[in-house]
């Protein structure tokens, strides 16, 4: 009040003043993360927290953390949080949401967690049109256990369990999760974004926002797949890893909107 008054009175001086244009979102906790330097898990966390701040959801949100590098995610968000069994976050989220229908429940899952061991749970959660949001980190590898092949590993990619490069004849082809889940009627929103540069990060954030809005409007299941990096297990510097993601992941995993129900389209036009 007083500060405001003071500034107004000084208005004629026209001396530029300093505006805060970016600060650490409140929905993040103060704890330092254990993620490797340059790992995009941190970016995804930040974006989610920014969206929670902007939509005023910090007091309503419940996070379900996966088993994977993000296993400790509940330490990094300042919201209520649970740690699920490997792959089962969507089932746990279902239990939470059904008895807490007014809360905003989201899972955060890696590609081993969601696409491999947890594919049944995420599919059925989408089938039910469960009103939750899934943030899906596709980094083409199992990070936490030291770099084994994931269902999302790129053909030919060397991992500790595909030492000669992923052989599609033996292990099949990468799973396109955003596309797969878009085919289910219960899905309200299914898109793929990338975190490999700032332009794409900004787009990713918009998608995360839309996903949470879908939940707030009770439109059903929403998922944002985020192409991410794992510098450590890819054996690259963080910057090289982002380049690799751009050059190798995007061709395999085209960015785009695979399903956006009409209610959300209207909303986006009006914004």
């Amino acid at each position: 009040m007083t500060a405001l008054a003071f500034q107004r009175s000084e208005k004629k001086i026209l001396k530029p003043i300093e505006k805060l244009v970016y600060e650490r979102p409140h929905s993040l906790d103060e704890n330092h993360t254990h993620y490797c330097p340059g790992c995009t898990h941190g970016i995804a966390h930040r974006l989610i927290a920014e969206v929670l701040d902007e939509l005023g959801l910090q007091e309503k949100a419940i996070l379900v953390a996966p088993v994977g590098c993000a296993v400790l995610a509940y330490n990094y968000f300042d919201v209520d949080g649970a740690e699920a069994a490997h792959g089962r976050a969507p089932a746990m989220a279902t239990g939470l949401k059904r008895v807490n229908p007014d809360s905003v429940v989201f899972t955060y899952q890696g590609d081993g967690d969601l696409a491999s061991i947890g594919i049944a749970e995420v599919i059925h959660t989408a089938v039910r049109g469960e009103n939750i949001t899934v943030i899906f980190i596709n980094n083409a590898i199992y990070g936490m256990t030291g770099g084994q092949m994931a269902p999302t590993t790129i053909p030919g990619q060397v991992t500790t369990s595909s030492p000669n490069g992923r052989d599609t004849a033996q292990t099949g082809y990468p799973m396109q999760i955003a596309e797969l889940l878009s085919g289910l009627p219960g899905t309200a929103y299914s898109v793929r974004r990338s975190l490999h540069d700032t332009r794409h990060i900004i787009q990713a954030k918009k998608a995360i926002r839309t996903a949470f809005e879908a939940q707030l409007q009770e439109l059903g299941f929403s998922i944002v797949e985020l192409l991410s990096s794992c510098p450590t297990n890819w054996g690259m510097t963080p910057i090289k890893a982002l380049d690799w993601a751009r050059d190798n992941m995007i061709p395999q995993y085209p960015l785009g909107d695979y399903k956006v129900v009409d209610e959300l389209k209207k909303k986006r036009r009006n914004r």
Binding site: P16, E18, K19, V21, C36, P37, C39, I43, R46, I201
Partner: protein
């Protein structure tokens, strides 16, 4: 061009250089010294004073270490934006 300033939480920084890569003004550099976690944190080359406050560094940072301020001409300011 608008002037900007960033504040880096050096103990949180892991020296991954994603901010440096993202900065269009190229005013970020890794420190020679290690922080308590054993990383060389990034710092703003203050003397150049070329930061525009565009916040791209903050958008790129995985560890949310960066706070960004930008100088704006006071008249353009809506009151609400400064209310604390």
């Amino acid at each position: 061009m608008a002037k900007g300033r960033i504040v880096i939480d050096v103990e949180r920084c892991k020296g991954c250089e994603l901010c440096r890569d993202a900065c269009p003004q190229d005013v970020l550099m890794l420190s020679d010294k290690f922080n308590n976690k054993g990383y060389r944190p990034v710092f703003l080359l203050e003397h150049d004073n070329e930061c525009t406050g565009c916040a791209l560094c903050a958008i790129a940072c995985p560890d949310a270490c960066i706070t960004v301020y930008r100088q704006v001409p006071q008249r353009r300011l809506h009151p609400a934006q400064t209310a604390v």
